[in-house]
């Protein structure tokens, strides 16, 4: 399903990803963990199609070359990225935005658009999943939302878009334990045999609620260790220091990562 091979990303003259390999099969949930600055978010944005990245290597979804696509084409191909910092868009109604998004990908796939009434049903089901007040649909996208509300809104969007591949970038950051549980249960409910997820996180906390099939450790732009969910527990106990020593890259970077 998702096949990533020797993926490199530079921003300007700064190399962030240095040859990342990852294979995700349908229905699998993969967690990517790593210290700050290791390239976790860059990996997510490279899959979603952020501009300004100098990208090399391969990333395909169901055989289609993601790296050749515009961000909106990737969404139509089934990629959904949950942002670590969802963008506030004052003046754009959340409901209108969601319906526009859903109909855009449906149109791109040659499917019929959903009517306002049909969409309301879709949205209602999604709202229940993330325990959101219906008022949220009438507010501007993320404008004035608390951190937890923004993250719930991301999961709400995921529920509406029903992606093939969900990439969740530090969805747990900035959440209190209740919000974390809501987000995690939303993610859990959206797991399915045809949907794969890549969950990026700094801490093991989220993985107590979302048990991943695989855990990967990303250090200095490369996956240096992979294992099952027990690896996350190990990392929680021992930190990333053991990997920093073996990781290639300049010393300063490793030191910075250790400190953070």
């Amino acid at each position: 399903m998702l096949h990533v091979e020797n993926l490199t990303v530079s921003i300007g003259d700064k190399r962030i990803l240095r040859g990342l390999d990852l294979d995700v099969r349908p229905g699998e949930v993969h967690a990517i963990m790593g210290p700050n600055g290791s390239g976790k978010s860059t990996f997510a944005h490279a899959l979603a199609g952020r501009e300004g990245y100098d990208v090399g290597g391969t990333a395909t979804l169901d055989g289609a070359d993601l790296l050749e696509m515009e961000p909106e084409e990737r969404a139509a191909a089934g990629v959904f990225m949950g942002f670590q910092y969802p963008v506030e868009i004052p003046g754009v109604n959340n409901m209108y935005f969601l319906r526009t998004a859903l109909n855009s990908v449906r149109q791109a796939r040659g499917e019929d658009e959903v009517s306002a009434r049909e969409f309301l049903e879709v949205a209602k089901r999604a709202m229940q999943l993330v325990d959101m007040n219906p008022d949220f649909l009438q507010r501007s996208v993320n404008a004035g939302f608390s951190g937890g509300e923004k993250k719930r809104n991301e999961i709400l969007q995921m529920a509406v878009m029903e992606p093939r591949l969900a990439v969740l970038d530090e969805t747990d950051s900035g959440l209190d334990i209740d919000a974390l549980k809501v987000v995690a249960s939303g993610v859990h409910a959206l797991r399915g045999p045809e949907r794969s997820m890549v969950v990026i996180t700094h801490y093991q906390r989220l993985l107590e609620y979302i048990t991943p099939d695989f855990v990967h450790v990303l250090v200095d732009g490369r996956i240096v260790e992979s294992g099952d969910s027990s690896l996350a527990l190990h990392l929680d106990d021992h930190g990333y220091a053991q990997f920093l020593a073996v990781a290639p890259g300049d010393e300063q970077r490793s030191l910075a990562a250790t400190r953070s």
């Binding site: 515009e70 909106e72 963008v87 004052p90 998004a101």
Partner: protein, 401 residues
């Protein structure tokens, strides 16, 4: 001086006049002014079809003369008078209308308007009357191929404790050169509440000069919503005097420029009494080589203690050649005053575009969504639902309600 020699004798403003700094003076000099020619010009078919959503009381003014045949002047609500000013003056009914004493003219175009603007809408709401349906004044200037600009004056007087919504639409037909020069005189008695919406949508070959003079008594409320989008030069000027204590003036506006348009907002709010509140919030969306101007003044006179005044101007530039000019003018001569102002000029947010595109919205649609969102924050401040929906439709936006 006879009115006929007026045009050649007035001294037109120049670039050295701060309030006229960005105006296209050569184009303005080509406009000609004179008394209305007396007969109602024929209005091209279809011009009014675009305006039917507001189908209540309506005053249609064609080249400065009220077209009674196309207007709907009879209100079912007692205490509401909507008529032609010229007709009312003829029967002496408007003789006592406050606001008819012309404010001290500040420039040539106000002088010309006062001289040639013999007709226009007269709106009188008696004390205590609450009128829910909006009153629509449609000003149509039909080009005469001689560069003529029509002059009309709208008078609005709300008695104590009354409330109303008045919408003024300024349009024209054809692509010939010409335009309109419209002055609106508003007088609000104690506790009166007016929402006043202006939509300026003349063809881009023409010029609109609009001025709104507002005089507010104690605890009255004036809400202005302006949409300035037409004309080679579109100018909307507000001069609001908070004369009675605890009066409130809330002015919001949107200007949408493209091509080589110059859209000019000149706003002055005078705090002349204690404990008044005023707010100015204007936004511009400027594409191509268009120019937006916001010149906003807050004038707090001696003794106007407890003044609470704010001003903001935000501009979205869609092209590298578009230009936004913003100038705050604050003159504070009282104590215990809160005055804030701020201005921004920016481009579409790349992060927001990416966010929308990552959700499947195509690049052009994402741009549109962001621009609409920016502009919508002014549109949604129109209080009267049908008016808001109609403005949204007219500007090509959706109305989310």
């Amino acid at each position: 001086m006879t009115t006929d020699s007026l045009t050649s004798n007035v001294v037109l403003p120049t670039k050295r006049d701060e309030a006229w700094r960005y105006a296209p003076h050569r184009t303005l000099a080509e406009l000609s002014f004179g008394p209305p020619n007396g007969s109602i010009a024929s209005v091209p078919a279809g011009l009014l079809d675009d305006i039917p959503v507001l189908d209540g009381l309506c005053v249609v003014v064609v080249n400065g003369i009220v077209d009674v045949g196309r207007s709907r002047l009879h209100s079912l609500v007692r205490g509401v008078t909507v008529s032609s000013r010229a007709a009312a003056l003829a029967t002496d009914r408007a003789a006592s209308t406050p606001g008819d004493e012309t404010p001290s003219p500040t420039d040539a175009y106000v002088v010309l308007n006062a001289a040639y603007g013999v007709d226009g809408a007269l709106i009188e709401i008696e004390p205590g009357v609450v009128l829910d349906e909006p009153i629509h004044v449609v000003d149509i200037s039909i080009p005469d191929h001689l560069g003529g600009a029509s002059c009309a004056r709208t008078h609005i007087h709300l008695g104590a404790g009354s409330s109303a919504t008045v919408v003024e639409t300024r349009i024209s037909a054809g692509s010939g050169f010409g335009g309109s020069n419209v002055c609106t005189l508003v007088s609000l008695d104690d506790g009166a509440e007016l929402e006043h919406v202006v939509l300026q949508d003349l063809p881009s070959s023409q010029v609109h000069l609009g001025r709104v003079e507002v005089d507010q008594a104690t605890r009255s409320t004036f809400r202005a919503r302006s949409f300035n989008t037409g004309g080679a030069y579109g100018r909307l000027e507000y001069h609001v005097v908070l004369r009675g204590p605890e009066a409130s003036a809330d002015l919001a506006g949107l200007y949408l420029g493209s091509g080589e348009q110059v859209l000019d907002q000149q706003v002055t709010v005078v705090h002349a009494a204690e404990n008044c509140v005023s707010r100015q919030a204007f936004r511009g969306v400027l594409d191509d080589e268009s120019t937006g101007v916001f010149n906003g003044g807050i004038d707090v006179r001696p003794g106007a203690d407890g003044t609470d005044a704010s001003q903001s101007n935000d501009n979205l530039l869609l092209s590298v050649r578009a230009e936004a000019n913003t100038q705050p003018r604050l003159e504070i001569l009282a104590d215990e005053v809160s005055c804030t102002h701020g201005a921004t000029v920016g481009r579409l947010d790349d992060d927001a575009l990416y966010y929308l595109r990552s959700r499947g919205v195509r690049a052009e649609g994402a741009r549109r969504l962001l621009i609409d969102g920016f502009a919508n924050q002014i549109v949604e401040q129109v209080g009267a639902g049908p008016v808001r929906a109609w403005i949204s439709h007219r500007l090509g936006y959706r109305d989310d309600g």
